[in-house]
């Protein structure tokens, strides 16, 4: 994966209302996601973009801008681990949908970083619901591979995308099988062959453009996955498919694997825990949408946590571009179905950061972490709670979106100012 270093310039249209400075977020219930646990009436101090202190007795510098949480909650920003934010503006309008490339000649080599649009209007509406970091996923195209995913903040500026080449996405479920030719065996054979192509890169392409599965450019793009430098995210739901995925991982060290979907992951929870393979699931998925997901249940999250599987939550049953902002509701429902509050909250903050290998910077509140801090007017997993302040990289963001502008325009329908003149 590649860190993206770009200019510090922040334009007027971005989330940042001010350049990073010193902020003291005080007077709230601080959820640290660290050994410090929850600190009642605590303070988080941020300077020049990063957190510099967290605790109950933090001295507030004279130059700090104080943000009073007013007895609310102070938490790390939500990290949505499975989104298509910045790729889709209007899903059904192909001209605004950059998530997949059915007609491309390429697959593994595709990189969502080239498609990501930080100016998309769903980014501010996601940010104002407390989501500060997202993993951006490609859709699959002509074969089982969607290409490379990336990690972004919801700042909405030129620096939003902070890492690309973060993972490679492959679909080995029924839909992947369909793309591979019609059966699961076709999909796994394709993946096997693609790995051989990448393992044999560059040699087997010295005289040929084509490999067994992948052409030269895509094979090159798969090399970091084969070497275990970049994780492979495998979309599978059926228990048998998950077992097959575990076997594939075991047969291809040092491959790192992440399971996405995982409707029946709870049925193979012990094997997943033993294999150390993390799982991305939507905890509210409970209907058998297909014969791949007959075991879908609201108890899945709790069973996975209990077995010791590393679990992060998604909004897969809704969508990943408009509704990623509802992730806290999905997590709250897992608590209603047996998951501890701290496990559920970690599954949308710290654990996604761990899964993508960026947990030294994101997902917790401690000195040295990026200044992603959200102040809530209540329990962040409650459907009636909302952020009052969202800081990203140590800067306050504006809690406005195109949606709030529409709301404000139509709040008072008796006002005689013509609607188009109300701004």
């Amino acid at each position: 994966m590649k860190q993206i270093l770009s200019a510090l310039a922040v334009t007027a249209l971005t989330a940042s209302s001010a350049l990073a400075q010193t902020y003291a977020v005080t007077n709230g219930r601080v959820v640290t996601n660290t050994n410090a646990g929850i600190i009642e009436n605590g303070t988080v101090l941020l300077r020049d973009g990063d957190i510099v202190a967290v605790g109950a007795e933090v001295a507030i510098p004279a130059d700090a801008t104080v943000i009073d949480a007013d007895g609310g909650w102070i938490t790390p920003g939500i990290f949505a681990p499975y989104t298509q934010l910045g790729l889709i503006e209007v899903a059904l309008e192909a001209s605004t949908n950059d998530a997949g490339a059915d007609d491309s000649d390429f697959s593994v080599a595709l990189d969502v970083a080239d498609s990501f649009n930080p100016a998309g209007t769903h980014i501010p509406s996601t940010r104002m619901e407390g989501v500060t970091r997202v993993a951006v996923y490609p859709s699959t195209g002509f074969n089982i591979f969607g290409g490379h995913g990336a990690l972004a903040s919801t700042r909405g500026d030129a620096d939003s995308l902070f890492e690309h080449g973060s993972f490679v996405f492959a679909d080995l479920s029924q839909s992947g099988a369909s793309r591979a030719g019609g059966s699961r065996s076709a999909a796994w054979t394709y993946l096997d062959a693609a790995f051989e192509d990448a393992a044999g890169y560059l040699g087997r392409y010295s005289n040929a453009h084509h490999g067994d599965a992948l052409d030269r450019y895509d094979a090159a793009a798969l090399v970091p996955v084969v070497r275990g430098e970049v994780p492979l995210v495998v979309n599978v739901d059926r228990a048998a498919d998950i077992r097959r995925a575990i076997r594939f991982r075991n047969e291809h060290p040092p491959l790192r694997m992440i399971i996405q979907g995982g409707a029946e992951a709870w049925m193979v929870a012990d094997e997943l825990a033993a294999a150390g393979i993390p799982v991305l699931i939507d905890p509210i998925r409970n209907l058998p949408g297909s014969f791949d997901s007959l075991g879908s249940t609201l108890a899945a999250a709790e069973r996975l946590h209990a077995a010791g599987v590393t679990v992060a939550y998604t909004t897969e049953t809704a969508d990943g571009y408009f509704n990623a902002r509802l992730l806290a509701q999905h997590a709250g429902n897992s608590v209603a179905h047996g998951v501890s509050w701290s496990d559920a909250f970690a599954a949308i903050t710290r654990v996604p950061a761990e899964i993508y290998g960026v947990d030294a910077r994101y997902g917790s509140l401690a000195a040295g972490y990026a200044g992603d801090v959200v102040v809530w007017d209540g329990d962040p997993l409650e459907v009636m709670s909302a952020p009052t302040h969202v800081l990203i990289d140590g800067a306050q963001t504006v809690l406005e979106s195109r949606q709030t502008m529409l709301r404000d325009r139509y709040m008072d329908i008796t006002d005689e100012t013509p609607f188009a003149y109300r701004r």
């Binding site: 209007v90 059904l92 058998p288 709250g332 429902n333 997993l381 009636m384 329908i413």
Partner: protein
């Protein structure tokens, strides 16, 4: 049925059996399409050829005590009691007497509401699993299919029904999809398990007609190079169809008038498509119309005026907040999501305050799911809508917001005198929640339908499992 429906129904009966009933014949719900009277045959239309065979499950007397009660009409009773007897709500109040033999439930700290009503569901017609063989929601073969009935597509073994029950849903309205200008009839169901859809049909609930605005019909047919391919094509399609329906109705009136006068008259040729549309023109069949944009809803309200019918509810209506005044003037309700949108251009202006803002500005508004997941959590959906409304400065009480899943959808379905609120004499459709239903952590503990406990979270023997799930992974899991 509501008083509105009774009026409409009586009106229709008068129309349909003007001749047949004139000599003291029976009401129009006879079993055949023709009847003999005084030696002459008068053709009439059987309005109920697929009657409900629903029978409530066995019930006893249940008294729920010491709960916080939202009555579904906007009222709240603290530390209150609800008595269910003989399948009906028999009393709601404080410190009710305990009838002999009653099952008494102490609900301290818990909430009681009328059962949740979802006015927009595709359970059964787009069931789980979503296999090709069960894709039965859209007769997308021509743009006007008012002759198809959703109940003829409902698969009663959809496991989505029991998942919705665990979320407190006691009544749901299942619609055809929105590919067509006239999609066909919807059906209102009790959320009970039945071997047949007839065993689930809400007795005597009015029929509905699904219509659709906007992108879906013009995309489906435009992509085939046929009409409608545009919004103006949609409008032309509705107008041409309503004109045919209007002529059809006139033909029947002419026939019945003649028959009434003892003249020798031939009945019009029966047309199943126009039967449904004539039902709308006569005020018996309620129009439930998929429409997103404000300007399109305004066009449709003009259309309804042109052909003299009523749009009962606009569904989805993501831009209702832009025209609450027009909606109120026209008496059209809106059924909306809390916060979904963005998936197509006509959903682009979705805002989180749509429900609260439309409600506060005078429109008759309610929540809907249109989704097998969303229907399980309509309490959370209205919680979000309420919270977002309050943050925008709109004062709405928790009890008032409960009308969005209760009396308002019941009214829009023409069944508000049967369910949707906790009033003596109404059906015993009741949910006991583990806490405040506006909390994400709250679940339905027990659900009664017609006074019978249909779901009990604490007792697996009172948790239905559809045939399809038997022997499958996860059988019996929520």
């Amino acid at each position: 049925m509501t008083s509105n429906f009774l009026k409409a129904s009586a009106g229709l009966a008068a129309v349909f059996c003007l001749a047949a009933c004139s000599g003291g014949g029976t009401a129009s719900s006879g079993s055949g399409e023709t009847s003999s009277e005084d030696g002459g045959e008068v053709v009439r239309i059987n309005l109920d050829p697929y009657p409900s065979t629903y029978e409530p499950m066995a019930s006893g007397t249940t008294l729920i005590q010491n709960a916080t009660i939202f009555d579904g009409l906007g009222g709240q009773i603290d530390d209150g009691d609800v008595l269910i007897e003989n399948g009906l709500i028999s009393a709601v109040g404080v410190d009710l007497e305990v009838p002999e033999g009653a099952t008494v439930i102490d609900a301290v700290g818990r909430y009681v509401t009328p059962g949740v009503i979802d006015i927009h569901s595709h359970l059964g017609v787009y069931p789980s699993p979503g296999v090709g063989a069960h894709s039965d929601g859209n007769e997308a073969t021509q743009p006007v299919t008012a002759e198809v009935w959703a109940e003829h597509s409902v698969w009663p073994q959809d496991p989505g029904f029991e998942a919705a029950l665990a979320g407190g849903v006691t009544t749901l309205h299942v619609l055809p999809g929105s590919a067509n200008l006239f999609g066909g009839r919807g059906v209102t169901l009790r959320n009970v398990s039945g071997r047949t859809v007839q065993e689930m049909k809400f007795p005597d609930a009015p029929y509905t007609l699904k219509m659709a605005c906007g992108e879906n019909p013009s995309r489906v047919y435009g992509n085939r190079g046929t009409s409608p391919a545009t919004d103006m094509g949609n409008m032309a399609g509705y107008r041409a169809a309503w004109q045919r329906a209007s002529d059809y109705r006139d033909d029947w009136h002419e026939y019945w008038d003649a028959a009434e006068a003892g003249e020798d008259a031939s009945p019009p040729r029966r047309d199943l498509e126009l039967d449904t549309m004539m039902g709308v023109l006569e005020g018996e069949v309620l129009v439930q119309m998929h429409c997103y944009r404000a300007d399109q809803m305004a066009q449709i309200m003009d259309l309804a005026r042109e052909f003299d019918y009523q749009v009962t509810t606009f569904h989805h209506a993501v831009e209702a907040y832009k025209i609450p005044d027009l909606l109120a003037e026209n008496g059209a309700c809106v059924a909306v999501w809390a916060d979904w949108g963005g998936f197509k251009m006509e959903a682009y202006d979705s805002i989180r305050e749509n429900l609260a803002l439309s409600h506060a500005n005078g429109a008759c508004a309610m929540i809907h799911s249109d989704d097998s997941g969303g229907i399980q959590r309509l309490n959370q959906e209205i919680a979000k809508a309420l919270a977002d409304g309050r943050r925008a400065g709109i004062e709405i009480s928790e009890a008032e917001a409960w009308t969005w899943v209760a009396n308002n959808p019941a009214t829009a379905l023409g069944i508000a005198d049967q369910t949707g609120s906790l009033q003596p004499g109404l059906r015993g459709d009741v949910v006991l929640w583990s806490g405040n239903p506006y909390s994400v952590y709250t679940r339905a503990d027990q659900v009664w339908i017609d006074g019978a406990m249909a779901f009990n979270r604490a007792d697996e023997s009172t948790q239905p499992v559809r045939d399809f799930m038997l022997g499958q992974p996860g059988e019996g899991d929520q």
